[in-house]
Amino acid sequence: MKPELMKRMVKGPDGVEFEVEPLRDYFCEVPPTVMPAAYIKIVEDLFNWARAESIWILGFGTGCGAIEMRPLMTPRFDAYRYGVQWRPTPRQANLFIISGYLSTKTLKRAIRAYEQMQNPKYVIGLGSCTINGGMYWDSYNTIKRLDDYLPVDLYIAGCMPRPEALLAGFMDLKKIIRAGKGEGANQYAENFAWYKENQKRVIHDWDMPDYNW
C-alpha cells in the first residue's frame, strides 16, 4: 500500500495535529444500491430507447483491442452515426469496453473506472482474452474470465474482432438495452460481495476503498 494512503498523524497549518485515514476520510464507502427502473413502464421504455440510441463509451483501452476502436471514429466506419460517442471521463460514460487482455494491474483501474460510472451502465468484453483468457490463458498476470469481476452484458469474440464486429456488437447491445435487460449495474449491486471477493482474490495489494463513487 502506498504511504500516502496509510493512516497517519498530520500537522495542520494552524499547528493542530490530527489523525488522517485516507481510505476512510476521503472516500465514501457506502456500497452500491439497486436502483429501480422508472415506475411507469412507458417512461422506462422511453429512457431505454434513449439509452440505446445514445451510447457513450469510456475512452479507456485496456489492451490491444483499443486499436480497433480508433477506426470507428474515422470516416471509414464512423460509429457516431449510430449515436455512439467516446467520452474521456467515466462520470459521463455509459459503456465500458474492456478491449482485450486485462492484467491484474489494469483490472484495479478498470474496477475503479467502472464504479465511477453512473447507473445504468454496460460492459462489453472485446476479444477472446476477456472470454477465456485467449492467448494469455497461461499468463501469470492476466485474468481469464471477465464476468467474475465485472457484470458483462455482451462479449464480442475474436482475436481481435474487426471494427465491423464491434459495430455489430453495438447493434446487439442496443437490442439488449431496448428490451430492458441491460441491468448490469443492479446485478453488480446485488452480488456486490461476490464480485468483491473475486476481485480481491486476484488483486493482492488492495489499496482503494471497497466502492469508489
Binding site: 483468457g133 490463458w137 501469470y140 481469464k144 486476484v202
Partner: protein, 186 residues
C-alpha cells in the same frame, strides 16, 4: 574500423571472452563478447568514452537454470559507425547481484528495476530499485525465472471458463481447408 580490430584492441586491455559474430557475411555489425562481471564497468566506460559506443540499447537477462547462472546482456550501439556490441556477463543465480551502471547511462536504472522485479537480480545503489516496477503486490518468486511455473500459477489464481479447446494450427487448418486429404498431408 571493423569489429575484429575493435575486439583485438579492447582485448589487449580487458580479459574478454571469445568474439561471437552474429551476422556473418556482409556488414558484420552485431557481435557479442563475454566479460567478467568485475571488469564490466571498466569495459563499458572505455567503450563509451574511447570507442564511441554512446548508446545503451538494452539491458536484459537470460536465465540459465541448468548452469545455475543468469546472463546479463548489455547491448551498446555506436551511432557513428552503426555498430552494435553486446556485452555478456554471467553471474551466479543464487544471491544474484550486479553492479549498477545507472551513473553511466541513466536509462539503465529503469532496466535494472525491471530486472530486479522480473528476475530478482539486485542492483544495489540504483535509483528507486526497491519500488514496484510493473507488478503490483507480487507475492511469489519473480515471474521470469524459469523455475516459476506460469501455467500452474495461472490455473491456481485465475478462475477458468470451462470448454476451452486448443488446436494445433497445422492439422486444424488442414482439416478445415482440405478435409479430403489424408491426415499425413499426402
Amino acid at each position: 574500423m571493423t569489429m575484429r580490430e575493435l575486439y583485438d584492441r579492447t582485448k589487449a586491455l580487458f580479459p574478454l571472452g571469445e568474439l561471437i559474430e552474429q551476422r556473418s557475411g556482409g556488414n558484420n555489425d552485431l557481435v557479442f563478447v563475454t566479460v567478467p562481471a568485475a571488469h564490466l564497468r571498466a569495459t563499458i566506460l572505455h567503450l563509451r568514452d574511447k570507442e564511441g559506443f554512446s548508446h545503451l540499447v538494452l539491458l536484459t537477462a537470460v536465465d540459465w537454470l541448468e548452469e545455475g547462472q543468469f546472463q546479463l546482456t548489455y547491448l551498446l550501439n555506436n551511432r557513428q559507425q552503426a555498430y552494435d556490441l553486446g556485452l555478456r556477463v554471467m553471474i551466479s543465480r543464487d544471491s544474484a547481484t550486479m553492479e549498477s551502471i545507472h551513473d553511466v547511462w541513466p536509462t539503465a536504472a529503469t532496466y535494472q528495476r525491471e530486472l530486479r522485479e522480473m528476475f530478482g537480480i539486485d542492483f544495489p545503489g540504483s535509483p528507486r530499485i526497491e519500488e514496484e516496477f510493473i507488478l503490483e503486490g507480487w507475492n511469489d518468486i519473480p515471474p521470469y525465472r524459469r523455475d516459476f511455473d506460469t501455467l500452474k500459477y495461472a490455473q491456481e489464481k485465475f478462475s477458468e471458463r470451462p470448454g476451452r479447446k486448443t488446436h494445433d494450427p497445422e492439422t486444424h487448418m488442414r482439416q478445415q481447408l482440405y478435409p479430403d486429404m489424408s491426415p499425413t498431408g499426402k
